[in-house]
Amino acid sequence: MGGLLTRAAQWTNDSSGCCKLEATQLNEFLLKEVLHFTEQLMVQHPEEATHVFEEPLVWSTTLEASDFKAGYDVSDLLVESHDKDSEGRPLLRLKPPTISVRSFSQLSKLLHLAENNTLAEVRECLQGNKDLVAIIFGRSFVSFMEKEDVNQDVQSLMVKIKEREPSEDVEAKIKVFLLLQKKDKEILNKLLQHVTEQSERVWIVFSDYEFSNGCNAPLWRQLLGEICYVVLTPCDTDTLYITCSNDGVFLNKGIKQDGQESGYERISEVYRDLVTLLKHRSPYFAANIKTQVQKSLCCKTPVTFVTFSNLINLNVKQQENKEEEKTVHHHVRNKACGTTKYEPCPRWRKLGLSSTRGYVIILLPHKSSVGAMPSELFSESSSESEEEEQPERRQENNTDLPSEYWQIQKLVIYLKGGNQTATVLTLCAMMDFNLMQETCQLAIRDAGGLEVLINLLDTDEVKCKIGSLKILRKICNNMQIRRIIVDMGGLQSVVKILDSPVKDLKALAAETIANVAKFRRARRTVRQHGGIKKLVKLLACVPNLATLSVNQEQDVEVARCGALALWSCSNSTKNKEAIRRAGGIPLLGRLLKSPHENMLIPVVGTLQECASEESYRIAIQTEGMIKDLVINLSSDNDELQMHCASAIFKCAEDKQTRDLVRKYKGLQPLVTLLGKANNKELLAAATGAIWKCSISKENVAKFQEFKALEIIVGLLTDQPEEVLVNVVGALGEFAQISANKAIIRKCGGIRPLVGLLTGTNQALLVNVTKAVGACATDKDNMAIIDQLDGVRLVWSLLKNSSADVQSSAAWALCPCIKNAKDAGEMVRSLVGGLELIVNLLKSTNIEVQASICAVVATIAKDKENLAVLTDHGVIPLLAKLTNTSDNRLRRYLADAIGHCCMWGTNRSSFGDATAVAPLVRYLKAKDSWVNQSTAMALYQLSKDPYNCITMYEKGAVKPLIQLMGSDDETLQEAAAGCVRNIRLLAQANRQARLFN
């Protein structure tokens, strides 16, 4: 027991490998306690304190001979105490720097002498004598005592010991030993407390009694499979009351010591283990554990870490380090196996907790330990939602299990001990069970069948491999099984089989990969073992022959399975790239001509998944796949139609693709798909395709032949957001044609559209504002929008956190203000609206800046509002933006400056803010829009003579004269007016000089 002290001290420096005690708070605390103990011993048990150690404690001290006075023989360098043991050896002996001490009394005196350095001495002493207890009491004594029951009285212990080693001071020895042990416990308890107070993120305890089976839960709860309870206080959430049960870990209502029945009630879902639960409950923990997983599990930071990494072991290394499993989990496992001994893992033992059964401590990591995430592990993006870790379902009591469970377990035994014939026979028998059922899957897992099945994959026995894959491909529809297969390296073996000359095997292997590669790690494994290349190879076959030989038919089946596997794998960006590099795109294009739905679905599925990448979109267009996609839009399989529409949705960003869809008559089938309004996935894909296709005006005209707009307006209500985003996006495009604006109004589309302005989905808001803006260009529409208070709603979206929404809203405001009746009054009525606009000029997003400039230009047409804008400091903010090189921003900025000149001293204010010189540079931009608005702005600015001087100096006249030759009349006029003002000033100047 006394060894705990050393152990407690050890683990702090364990990782560094040397025997130093680091200067951590915890060690400091520990040293103080040891010091305190020696001092107390001297005072409270003077007799025991004189007990002579078996061996001397030896360490190098900082004390010198001169420090020792009364009670010592001091000669030159050597110091010996007057107190001697029975054989006349001094109890303390110093030969600098080495000191040896043989009793607690001497130790205490020495520490007294050390005065300021006491802690350092204790530290040196502990470092020098790691086996402290054995040195003090002798090894045999310690091992004897550890075997004995500490609770028996001293006398009976003495009798026993005397039998072994007759010596006079056994009694003192035992007493000291027991004292030490007691102290040890105290220190540990204090340590716990200390740590708790210190970090606040500790959770501890619960359970005062442990049953012989190792459970701490009351008996009537054990009947329900509960094992123990933990209370935990993470740093970022409320205290968590947790139940650990056979089924997993979950939150309870808060079990207090009084054991109210209601407290045991489950209030959360069941998690697989503590880590998973914590991940879900404490974002801070989740963030940290993610980083931790990737770090090596040894950590230099003290205490907190060792335990923490230990916790993770459960989760990550379950397979490799069975013995390292964390306590709670371990406990559960053991129970399942029928043994009930509760054994903390080695790391916990290091913490010195082996004897404080029933306590569970887990410390959450310090903030400082959070490192950057290594990139490779998390570099894969995925468009689809990843599978989440789900709570592991544990089989409860053996008696509840259905008979299939036991039958399968028996089969696994035959698998393990059978030759090829028995194995094949057993595999066939196993296939007769419903392998999609969880009981059967878990039965295989629990009996260790997965190992056998995976091992079979590496044999030369074709039949065994086929049988094994036929089972694996089914049971891996279970998420846990998938993960275990990957953990065991099974996926590598499956990938290897793709090279087999046996077609059945290839097809089965590909199908298995398709089912396993549903999570990121699996997909990465496939890629890293060259699986993508092999899968792409499988695609090579002739899919569309009228009659196929048996051999060719097999090839087609292999290709189909290959496509299924690629579909699963294509969820990761890197895999998409790998498929492309392996030459998969033309092969997929060839399979796209297949007449079979079961082939087309995985092929189009893969294509649409990959179409998120530009390279694929180009290839889909150039390889002529659009035609086939369009053809299959008219298939009678919803899923196939959905994937085709989705592929078109992603590809139709490109103008040529849009034209091709029209050319192959794909627009009508798309509109037809809108009729399947009950299949929301299909509807989302179809509306998405319509949206993107309608970016081309020709397509909109074509769509109108099929009355698409009327149907689309009808989809504005009662649809999920994924559909609404696309519907509204399409509306925005349709409304670019003025005839359509009226149709939208007549179909009653304005009201639901304005209603959507109150939503929160940012992608939707971007589209809604755009559509509202497009509609607002029609006066009649605008009247309705105004009436519905739409302008205020759009305006308030300027406060949205997304820059996209901000700019989109700002663009929408321009036509709203332009077309509203009494626009000036309306703008003024929006309290704080103008200030909001001016402040947005401080945005760092160029699109926001440009859109706000456009709004400013529109608002400034009203003199009164311009005055307010000026008061809010719009002039310096605009001037500040003039140094931009972005032509889009330049255009609207110049426009805003031109319009803002119309008030008070704004013209000279722009001059003072040095906005004129940069504007002159805009004249050289190769963008006629920029030239035009700049010329207008300069014309306005040139009404201030000082600005004219700047323009003249910056060489504005020459480009202005060139612009005067432009075809655009307004531009001509503005340029000429500006030049005129400059000339007038020059003339006035000359005249002034002449006459003065």
């Binding site: 028996k410 089969l411 035994i413 035959y414 001990g417 059978g418 030759n419 090829q420 014939t421 028995a422 094949v424 026979l425 057993t426 595999l427 066939c428 028998a429 296939m431 007769d432 074709v462 039949k463 086929i466 049988g467 000359p501 046996v502 077609k503």
Partner: protein, 202 residues
């Protein structure tokens, strides 16, 4: 080999290859030559005597060395299915016809062949006892078990459950055929008696 001999072999090959569908004439010719080479080797039990055909021992050697078979009983059964006239020797015709199914047989042919191999007493049924006999050494025996044969018996029951469609406690040819057509892996349910399927598909 003399010119005359070659001539004889060629005509023979032409003859036989017409009756056997899976081998071409050249292949047949090669197999005939192989047959004669085998004949030249001294007989295992009657050294020195010219044999009327390939005997059991020589045939077993081939099955073992070229096709990796190990089960003596199954190998003897394979010989019996080859040896149609039951004279203890394989004639040239028996040799080539047998190999034709053995190496290139269609699924139907192979089902018939395998059933013949497994029907140890040739009564047209694979009985429980026959299955037990063939599966006897297919499991590692656990010496601790009360009944060391329990596992084997269990396997027999598994096989019956899976294949005995008419529930008469034995496998008729129809039972066997139906089961194999449903699940090809069951073709060699009671022991390896065909070349590895890699060879098969090549």
């Amino acid at each position: 080999m003399s010119a005359m001999n070659r001539k004889v072999i060629q005509t023979l090959a032409e003859n036989i290859s017409k009756q056997v569908e899976h081998f071409s004439k050249t292949e047949t010719e090669r197999l005939i030559r192989e047959f004669h080479v085998l004949l030249k080797e001294p007989m295992s039990n009657h050294p020195g005597k010219e044999a009327p055909g390939v005997d059991r021992g020589k045939f077993r050697n081939i099955l073992h060395e070229d096709f990796g078979m190990t089960d003596r009983m199954i190998m003897d059964q394979v010989f019996r299915t080859f040896d149609k006239d039951n004279d203890g020797f394989l004639s040239v015709k028996e040799w080539i016809k047998g190999l034709s199914v053995f190496l290139r047989g269609t699924l139907d042919e192979r089902i018939k062949y395998c059933f013949g191999v497994y029907d140890l007493n040739g009564d047209g049924y694979i009985s429980r006892e026959e299955m037990f006999h063939m599966l006897k050494s297919s499991l590692i025996r656990q010496p601790t078990e009360e009944d060391p044969d329990e596992g084997i018996k269990d396997l027999v029951e598994i096989a019956l459950k899976k294949m005995d469609h008419d529930h008469d406690g034995r496998l008729s040819f129809q039972d066997f055929e139906k089961a194999v057509k449903e699940e090809n892996l069951l073709l060699e349910a009671f022991g390896t008696c065909l070349p590895d399927s890699i060879v098969n598909t090549l």
